[in-house]
Amino acid sequence: MSLCKCDTGGGNLGRPNCFGVFDVTKQAILVEYYTPSGAVNGIDISLLSAGGVLDQAFLDSKVKDLNSKTRWYPTPELKNITDERADDITEEFEDTSSVFIQEGARTFNGLIIKGDPVLLGNLQSWRCLTVGVFFIDKSGNLIGKQTRAGYLDPILLQDESFSPALIKGTDTTKQKNSIKFIVSQLENDANLTMIEGAKITANLLGVSGLIDVFAETPTNITTTGFDVVLNTGFGGITSPIVAEGLTASDFSIFNETTQLAVVPTSVTEVSAGNYTFVIPAQTSLDVLTVSNTLISPLTKNYDLTPFTVAIP
């Protein structure tokens, strides 16, 4: 990637009277840089609403995408952001002059207040992936890069550079998670651009990512129903925070034995996070798998880890 334009000379240095600039970062949106098809996991501008507006439906389609490979994963609010390039790498000579070799690496650091081990574990799972990132700034701009026409793409991170940590509280400080990563040397700051906040009608600033939901062992299983407690990964080991407010349309059930879908007749939240499912009669010894609805985007902020129900 050469920055020199020997055929056309230097670039013009004029600027319009009024234009937006990036504000301080408030959230990062992590994505897998490549989709399963191999394309960069960017925003196809033609899919935004008329006038290039990023609306709530578009944001939901990304943040609550059923496909975990193309989903957006926004972090909680970040504090104490540093996002700086190290000094240029230069070659120095005996006469004390030097020449530019390449830019230093851009390193990003941020803190998540009230970070905890569950969030740390989820952040650590990004380390092995090829990660891209969009930034949401204080003005509600969505920042990425443009290196191909018609797309706002995520910024590629250097492989294996993603490094989260848990910072325990002290007498004077709150517990936190820290995140640190280095932007790929393949990226050029000159390609950074944004969808301006004025063109975003969605509630982007403060957008929340999905919360993992895990089932306890189902109980009271009959051929026509079962009970199950659904917990988030958060809370104490004996006091998990439950997943509340799920309804029949949030689940899909598949009979692994007959290879047929089972439409739940009803789902009752008997008490917070404690659900009773009524299903059409199944055959003894059939095994059911219960998972997220198969229709994207999800309507709630929960991502259910599939669980099985063995019919007695």
Binding site: G225, S249, V263, T265, S266, T276, V278, P280, I295
Partner: protein, 61 residues
């Protein structure tokens, strides 16, 4: 659009979300047998009044 169609099939009564498509052909006795064991958070007779309108078998089926 598909999501909207599915949501239209789900009716929430008390603490329970019912998938109305499963009520086609169901009678009150069957409903009472199933839900007498489930704490749906609503009077069963009143719930049936709401759900019974989804029990009609569509013509041609």
């Amino acid at each position: 659009m598909k999501k909207l169609e599915l949501d239209n099939k789900v009716v929430t009564i008390g603490k329970t979300s019912f998938n109305t498509e499963n009520f086609v052909g169901m009678n009150k006795k069957e409903f009472m047998d199933i839900y007498s064991k489930v704490k749906i958070g609503y009077d069963l007779n009143d719930a049936w009044k709401i759900l019974s309108k989804y029990t009609k078998v569509p013509k041609g089926k």
